[in-house]
């Protein structure tokens, strides 16, 4: 698990043709499924750059350290407010 999508918060950017996470991911790892919802197609290819986490306006994306790199479930989320970035870890 690297980037986790909270399906309760994700609204696929209101049905936009190109949700923000799709737009920004340097590995092009997001895609829209047949039901229009956003998903990660190859989470093992994630670089953990957190570009998507910073971009998401719903704070629906969290970064987790993979278990193979010592991860134990902590999540990191970010919110942009007035051009500043606020991180939240849980």
């Amino acid at each position: 698990m690297t980037v986790v999508i909270d399906s309760g918060k994700c609204n696929s950017c209101g049905g936009a043709r190109e949700p923000l996470c799709l737009r920004i991911c340097p590995g092009d790892l997001f895609h829209k499924q047949s039901d229009g919802r956003v998903a990660l197609r190859k989470k093992e290819e994630c670089w953990d750059c957190a570009a998507c986490v910073k971009e998401c306006r719903q704070q629906a994306l969290s970064l987790m350290l993979p278990v193979e790199a010592g991860g134990q479930g902590a999540k990191l989320c970010a919110e942009k407010k007035d051009l500043r970035l606020f991180w939240k870890i849980e």
Binding site: P26, D28, W47, L63, E68, L76, W87
Partner: protein
């Protein structure tokens, strides 16, 4: 000229530019803005595989500018430092041309919006002789904004495949959309390659879902190198690989802790070990760590226990701006940064022209050996320790040179035959095949790890193993031609693996050729374990000859500077 609009379900899209920049990363963005500032009417296109807002190795941000002349430093002192780090082999002309403009280019990007930390007097905060502290989290969006504001046309999500070459001159590039069935014929009067270095050649530190946790972007797959190799461009110094000394597991940067906060390298007995090895430069800090591990005194650490509570908090914020998963690691382990020393390890090897000097052989204006083609940033060779600012300077130099070159040039025709040939090569994988890109990638990485000095062999090289690597890569070629792709995403990945394969082939040639050990760990020939200046104080360059399917090695003396006549 080809006027085809559709072939086999693909739209054929023509794009014309005065100057085409391949890669919207560090060097590419600066090149683009430089051209428009000098010639606002110039038609410039940046073509980028991802999205320029967060593409390339700066996607997550960066914590410091590491090539800057702090007070007391001069271009000449910078050159001395670079020469020492590179064990005497550098292109002095390239390094000096970079050093002279490092500070100016930093101020320029600060004016674009890059936050740089200052003291009360308004001076930049130094970190050693050549670094300044920045909040580099937004560095990529800042560069991208400047590009868009300048009026440059950016085409995102397009992967370049091969240069268009006519009469020995580069006059454009073929490419495809990473998302839709669109094949591009992009013509230009001049092309600047700024595609960065190559990652993913070797088996990485972590398995499974952590395998893309790497020092460099796993999406920098050597496209520019591969296109240049296939086109017969001269390349230099691939054997000077780069291996990063990083925090274990997260592969987070160590520079911030070591240089920024003075954390010392210690072994498992708590002993500071660098002085034992006279380790004063970057490769030696890695080499010393490896030696301590092999002598049974590992693991090795950065001693963060001496950080104050305030410094520990500062460290966390620094990592949030460049490698957020480090903060997750501390949380997952229930630790504060200063509670326990942080284990360090070497990464897998990369081929880059930024930290080390692998790349296109260029002249001082960054012209490559193929007419019409410039190279800037990590894809250009001969000038190590470039870092971000060095890439900016090279982008600027290449841009101004390309602008001068195109004054009497025009965009040229592309034959339908040439287009169809490249279209067939690029898209064939959509029509069936046997092997997935993932299988080829892991197969390639296994060969390189086991026989070409990867992590698994403690980076050590010898003739016999390198010959096996060479043989296995030749055999892999058959499998490369049987790759399959289900969609455009997989087609992009297929070409990334193919490009990596080409870089690996060139790398083996260089590793075999240099019969000495000049850069421990980066290039350790176990069968020639010492440095031999009498014989090997030369550049090892190579050119691929497509007609014979072989690489020819060319030795270049240190002072050789490419000269092009006025008709170039």
């Amino acid at each position: 000229m080809t006027t085809l609009k559709k072939v086999e379900g693909f739209e054929i899209r023509q794009e014309n530019a005065d100057i085409l920049i391949i890669g919207g990363g560090t060097a590419g963005c600066m090149a683009a803005v430089t051209i428009k500032e000098k010639e606002p009417e110039c038609n410039v296109i940046v073509v980028e595989k991802a999205h320029i807002d967060r593409s390339g190795c700066l996607a997550a941000g960066v914590n410091a500018i590491n090539a800057y002349l702090n007070p007391g430093q001069t271009p000449e002192s910078f050159l001395e430092y670079v020469k020492n780090d590179a064990a005497g082999i550098v292109r002095e002309d390239l390094v000096l041309s970079i050093a002279k403009e490092l500070n100016d280019v930093t101020k320029k990007v600060e004016a674009w919006g890059l936050p740089i930390y200052k003291d009360d007097a308004g001076n930049y905060l130094h970190r050693g002789k050549r670094s300044i502290k920045i909040n580099g989290e937004p560095i990529k969006p800042v560069l991208a904004k400047a590009v868009k504001k300048s009026g440059v046309r950016v085409i995102n999500r397009v992967n370049c495949t091969n240069y268009i070459i006519k009469n020995g001159k580069v006059m454009g590039v073929f490419a495809f959309s990473t998302r839709e069935k669109v094949f591009y014929v992009m013509r230009a009067k001049a092309v600047i390659c700024a595609t960065g270095g190559a990652a993913g050649l070797y088996r990485p530190n972590n398995p499974g879902e952590a395998r893309h946790k790497m020092w460099y972007s796993p999406f920098n797959t050597g496209a520019g190198y591969a296109m240049g190799i296939r086109a017969g461009a001269e390349m230099t110094s691939f054997e000077m690989r780069f291996i990063a000394l990083r925090i274990k597991d997260t592969i987070a940067p160590t520079g911030t802790l070591a240089q920024g906060f003075g954390a010392k390298q210690i072994n498992s007995r708590g002993e500071e070990y660098l002085s034992k090895y006279g380790a004063k430069n970057t490769p030696m800090r890695l080499y010393a760590t490896l030696e301590e591990n092999m002598a049974g005194r590992g693991p090795c650490f950065l001693d963060t226990t001496l950080l104050s509570a305030e410094q520990a908090e500062e460290v966390k914020n620094a990592y949030l701006n460049m490698c957020p998963t480090m903060v997750l690691w501390w949380k997952d382990h229930g630790l504060k940064p200063n509670q326990r020393p942080l284990e360090i390890t070497g990464s897998e090897p990369y081929v880059v022209g930024g930290h080390t000097q692998s790349g296109y052989w260029v002249d001082v204006k960054r012209r490559t050996t193929i007419r019409g083609l410039w190279a800037a940033g990590d894809v250009a060779g001969g000038a190590p320790k470039k870092y971000v600012t060095g890439c900016w300077v090279e982008g600027k130099i290449a841009a101004l040179a390309a602008l001068e070159y195109i004054e009497d040039k025009s965009v040229e025709e592309v034959s339908e035959e040439l287009m169809r040939q490249e279209f067939a090569r690029v898209t064939r994988f959509l029509r069936g095949g046997q092997f997935s890109y993932g299988e080829l990638e892991e197969g390639l990485q296994k060969i390189m790890d086991e026989y070409a000095g990867g992590l698994g062999s403690n980076y050590g090289l010898n003739e016999e193993k390198l010959m096996i690597a060479r043989e296995r890569l030749i055999a892999l070629d058959k499998l490369v031609s049987q790759l399959k792709a289900e969609d455009m995403f997989e087609l992009t990945r297929v070409h990334e693996v193919i490009d990596r394969y080409w870089v690996a082939r060139a790398l083996i040639v260089h590793l075999l050729y240099r019969k000495e050990t000049r850069w421990p760990c980066y290039q350790s020939r176990l069968d020639y374990p010492t440095k031999n200046d009498d014989r090997w104080l030369v550049f090892v360059n190579s050119v691929y000859h497509a007609d014979k399917n072989l690489f020819k090695v060319i030795e270049r003396p240190l002072k050789e500077v490419l000269c092009h006549d006025s008709s170039y």
